[in-house]
């Protein structure tokens, strides 16, 4: 069975800390891995990773994929209270329009 596992499930940090969120996967016919941020409502897209070892970066957020070890990490540096959210990892399978989601990591950033 295809699965996406995120860790930790929840994390509480102080503003200014750096955090690393993990996503491992076991899916058939892997095509891409996506990260989303979900605040109170709908998920919003952060990154899509298709190739190993190439870091994607957007401001204080960055992510990298390891296709050999089947995992990805999402780093957030100098965290702010506005980073508090659930971060979802999802894997897209080749030849399909189906995304398989992990349960998410709930990040809380305290002032």
């Amino acid at each position: 069975e295809d699965k996406v596992v995120q860790s930790p499930l929840s994390l509480v940090v102080h503003e200014g800390d750096t955090v690393t969120l993990n996503c491992s996967y076991e899916v058939t016919n892997f095509r891409s891995l996506l990260w989303y941020k979900q605040e109170k409502k709908a998920p919003t897209f952060l990154f899509m990773l298709t190739s190993s070892g190439i870091e994607k970066k957007s401001g204080r957020l960055s992510s990298i994929l390891d296709k050999k070890e089947l995992f990805s990490i999402l780093n957030i540096t100098a965290t702010q209270t506005g980073d508090s959210a659930v971060y979802l990892c999802a894997v897209l399978q080749g030849g399909s329009e189906k995304l398989v989601f992990g349960k998410g990591t709930k990040l809380t950033v305290n002032p």
Binding site: A42, P43, F45, M48, E97, K98, F101, K103, G104
Partner: protein, 112 residues
């Protein structure tokens, strides 16, 4: 552009009732999706469509039906509601495929 809109925002159903969750997008996207999200869980795909007249099952289609008669609209029908269908339902659309989805604000459904 309004983006992806969903109605209603909240609904309480009694067991055995039926209802239709509405989803519309004004971005001329070919691809549309329905997900459900249970508390503390990720999203699970219910149904999706790659264009008007074409729909396909996702991971958890049982108890639901969809239709896609126009590019803009993708309603989700619940027949004989059950407590297990209590969830938040998200509709999404994209132009090129699953990796560029725009999500609607969600419908919170409670079945009692």
């Amino acid at each position: 552009n309004a983006g992806v809109t969903q109605t209603p925002k909240f609904r309480i159903l009694k067991i055995g009732q039926s209802m239709t969750l509405q989803c519309a997008q004004d971005m001329n996207h070919n691809y549309m999706y329905w997900y459900r999200q249970d508390p503390g869980m990720g999203l699970k795909l219910i149904y999706y469509s790659v264009g008007a007249g074409i729909t396909d099952k996702g991971e958890v289609p049982n108890g639901y039906n969809v239709s896609r008669s126009t590019t803009e609209d993708f309603p989700l029908r619940l027949e004989l509601a059950a407590p297990s269908q209590t969830s938040v339902y998200f509709c999404a659309s994209s132009y090129r495929g699953a990796y560029e989805q725009y999500f609607g604000p969600g419908t919170r459904l409670t079945v009692t």
